[in-house]
């Protein structure tokens, strides 16, 4: 079933796969055997980078984020360079390129030099498996979800290299923190995604999109708890602000980035956003139905729908960044093991049970809606009950101090004011 009105004419931009396949077909006739695959890789890279990653990074990740954060903080955000400050990210990039790259004398120069490269490479690889449209997936491998998870845990190595090589105590703090945090958060992350895999019975991201299209429901409704856990885990791994202990600016200055400057720093900064966009794209694919939008994808180019969803999910990151304080590193670790992992396991238990029932009932469509309602209710209840069980008592925390009329020294607790 191909729910898509686009033709296969090369000029039909509703599906960008047309134009690339036209180019590749033409190239195949003149190029020697095999080179066309190299060309395909190049086109895929350039296209996904130019159409999606770079604009998203610059204009949503840098400009949009600064603008939205500015609005949250009751200020304007960038508004000087270009119309509405739209050229600010480009001006920033030019500035970063011109800056001198400093390397501390006692640092490990080679490791410090290659760490940014190690950081950038996986971010590019991640977009290979993201389906932008029915035909617009660069590498439609059957285990793309596993591929994505494997590649997305690579940058931690680069972070650790950066922190270690700088020979700075703050950097070392950041490096150790990020490794500990990634180990903690990778577990509930994978556990939560396992639920999505079980219900859709596919490891392919394109398969998940088609599943969502077939049953006319987003996985976010069937697996709300998994989405919440995914969001928290991924924001921890990406060092987004409520959980940015690895580069906590007010504590360890900038963590593993303390000694970096110029474009080396810029690569880390830019690719942090790149990873966040990749994680948003992944969430949009798995949980928000990817390029489908309940039939609208027949009229609107699917890649536009997909980009819209990605940016919508990215806005969540910006929102939490603007509002929440940062957790301490041990609290953050405890949160992963004590709260998220049990919840993720419980979610998995529920979803496996549902899957069993569903397969006995012959995969009836109505059941999936039933499961969705059940899961939404149960997730809310579970989160609340598990928090209470672990000692969360919001009413015990006094919001207002005690008030006394006279300066009479120590007032013991419980004494009438």
């Amino acid at each position: 079933m191909m729910p898509f009105l686009a033709t296969d004419k090369w000029y039909d931009l509703r599906d960008l796969a047309n134009i690339s396949s036209a180019i590749l077909d033409g190239a195949d006739r003149i190029l020697p055997f095999g080179l066309v695959y190299v060309l395909a890789a190049l086109i895929g890279f350039v296209a996904s980078f130019l159409i999606f990653v770079l604009p998203s990074q610059l204009f949503v990740g840098v400009y949009g984020e600064r603008k939205l954060i500015g609005r949250i903080q009751s200020r304007y955000g960038p508004n000087r360079v270009g119309p509405f400050g739209l050229l600010q990210p480009i001006a920033d990039t030019i500035k970063l390129l011109q800056k001198e790259v400093l390397t501390p004398t006692r640092s490990d120069r080679l490791v410090m030099y290659i760490a940014p490269i190690f950081f950038v490479a996986p971010a590019v690889l991640l977009f290979a498996v993201i389906p932008f449209g029915p035909n617009m997936v660069f590498a439609d491998i059957p285990v793309s979800l596993m591929y994505f998870l494997a590649i997305s845990s690579l940058p931690v190595l680069a972070n650790f290299m950066a922190g270690w090589s700088a020979n700075n105590k703050y950097s070392l703090f950041g490096a150790i923190r990020i490794v500990a945090m990634t180990i903690s958060y990778e577990t509930p992350l994978v556990m939560s995604l396992l639920g999505a895999v079980v219900i859709t019975s596919t490891l392919s991201l394109q398969g998940m999109v088609l599943w969502a299209d077939e049953y006319k429901i987003w996985l976010a409704f069937v697996q709300p708890l998994a989405l919440v856990i995914y969001f928290i885990c991924v924001s921890a791994e990406l060092n987004r602000t409520p959980t940015d202990i690895a580069e906590a600016e007010s504590e360890i200055v900038a963590g593993y980035l303390t000694e970096y400057s110029g474009m080396k720093w810029g690569l880390f900064y830019g690719m942090d956003i790149g990873y966040a966009i990749a994680a948003s794209a992944f969430a949009a694919t798995v949980f928000l139905g990817g390029w489908t939008l309940f039939g609208l994808e027949k009229w609107v180019p699917p890649w536009m729908i997909f980009i819209g969803k990605t940016h919508l999910f990215y806005a969540l990151f910006i929102w939490t960044r603007g509002t929440l304080p940062r957790l301490r590193s041990d609290q953050l670790m405890a949160f992963a093991w004590k709260y998220l992992l049990p919840l993720a396991l419980f979610n998995l238990f529920i979803v496996v049970t549902e899957r069993m029932i569903w397969s006995e009932e012959g995969y009836d469509k109505a059941y999936i809606y039933l499961f969705a309602i059940f899961n939404i209710l149960v997730s809310g209840l579970l989160v609340f009950a598990w928090a209470r069980f672990n000692g969360y008592r919001p009413d015990d925390v006094p919001m207002r101090p005690r008030l006394v009329k006279e300066a009479r020294g120590y007032v013991p607790l419980g004494e009438n004011e």
Partner: protein, 369 residues
């Protein structure tokens, strides 16, 4: 932290160039992993020798110095110095002068606490949102100062015997505007932070200060009140007619960073109350008594203390009948509040040390003078 892996303590310098030391202050922390096992304060990066310089200048010329000690609450510092000089010379202040001083001191407390609350939230990692909101409110108060005294930060508004100028016509509507607009923002900050699970877990039980330690270290201000000790110079030793106003002393429960935070928020509400009362009952008449410019107080010494936003701010003056003080000494509340830093930080993590330092609300200009 006492695990199987053998670790070796090492020293990190928090400061003097660090985003969370609020100036050039340095903590030399010995850490074992993330745990702080020793903390040493290193001060003096902003020493400007104010106390010595003041011995060469006349009493009136010294007022601008007091602006620059605690640069976040210049009005309170002016007031403390002027009170000491008046006590020394036996000068009476007219009723209107006193009322204006109270309004200014309380507005200054609001402005300073805006900064303190926002910076503390910034230290816990609430990335800039609370501080931007509170700075927005602080701007309005600084505008009032600008209208009244011509300067925003270093006001130099109080004079020995009263205040420098009478209030300008736009003063009252501006203050009324602040008084109506500030309480909703305090509520907002309270909803954003006091009820926030992350914020509570970061600050509650962190940097606990027992009432015994707080009194023995002679702490004052929100630090002392956070530990549950009802002590406020405005109530205990009233000056400028503070005994006519109706307000409460907020006190905390356990003496942790969270208590100090909520005490500051409540103090802002109380200050709003005081300013309202003072503005309603603002007497007419002279705002300043005539004082000779080259004041030569009789031989003797005087110590005047006020409740500055950070605690007990004392000015000690000794006169030898000369035109300038023989000795000029400041009791800076931040400096003395800092003395309990080691007890509060040792045992916590580096992240806790930052939160504790934020909850003390230091101003380095005042510590080093």
């Amino acid at each position: 932290m006492t695990g199987v892996i053998k670790s070796e303590p090492f020293v990190i310098n928090i400061g003097p160039q660090h985003p969370s030391t609020h100036g050039v202050f340095r903590i030399r922390a010995t850490v074992d992993g993330e745990k702080v096992i020793d903390a040493e304060m290193v001060m003096g990066y902003l020493h400007r020798s104010m106390e010595k310089l003041a011995e060469e200048r006349t009493y009136t010329q010294n007022i601008p110095f007091t602006d620059r000690t605690d640069y976040l609450s210049s009005m309170s510092n002016n007031l403390g110095y002027c009170l000491a000089a008046e006590k020394l010379a036996g000068i009476e202040v007219p009723a209107r002068g006193d009322a204006i001083r109270v309004i200014m001191a309380e507005l200054q407390r609001l402005a300073s606490h805006c900064m303190a609350v926002g910076a503390f939230a910034n230290d816990t990692g609430a990335w800039q949102t609370p501080i931007m909101w509170t700075l927005r409110e602080r701007e309005k108060i600084l505008d009032i100062f600008e209208v009244t005294s011509g300067a925003r930060l270093t006001c130099n508004y109080m004079r020995i015997g009263g205040v420098a100028f009478d209030l300008r016509p736009p003063f009252e509507p501006m203050v009324r505007k602040v008084l109506t607009e500030l309480p909703p923002v305090i509520e907002e900050i309270e909803q954003l932070l006091s009820g926030n699970e992350i914020f509570v877990s970061r600050t509650r039980g962190i940097g606990v200060l027992s009432p015994e330690l707080a009194t023995n270290a002679s702490l004052s201000g929100p630090m002392l009140r956070g530990s549950g000790i009802a002590w406020d110079i405005r109530k205990a030793d009233p000056y400028c007619g503070y005994d006519q106003y109706d307000f409460d002393i907020p006190i905390g429960y356990r003496g942790d960073s969270y208590d100090r935070f909520i005490v500051r928020l409540e103090e802002m509400r109380q200050s709003v109350k005081i300013v309202e009362q003072a503005l309603d009952g603002l007497p007419s008449g002279p705002f300043c008594t005539e004082v000779p410019l080259a004041l030569r107080p009789p031989k003797g010494e005087a110590y005047a203390r006020i409740e500055s936003p950070r605690g007990e701010l004392g000015y000690y003056l000794v006169s030898d009948e000369g035109p300038s003080p023989y000795r000029f000494h400041i009791r800076p509340p931040s400096f003395i509040n800092l003395s309990a830093l080691k007890e509060m930080t040792v045992g916590g993590t580096v992240a806790d040390a930052i939160v504790v330092l934020g909850s003390i609300d230091i101003v380095v200009g005042e510590i080093d003078r």
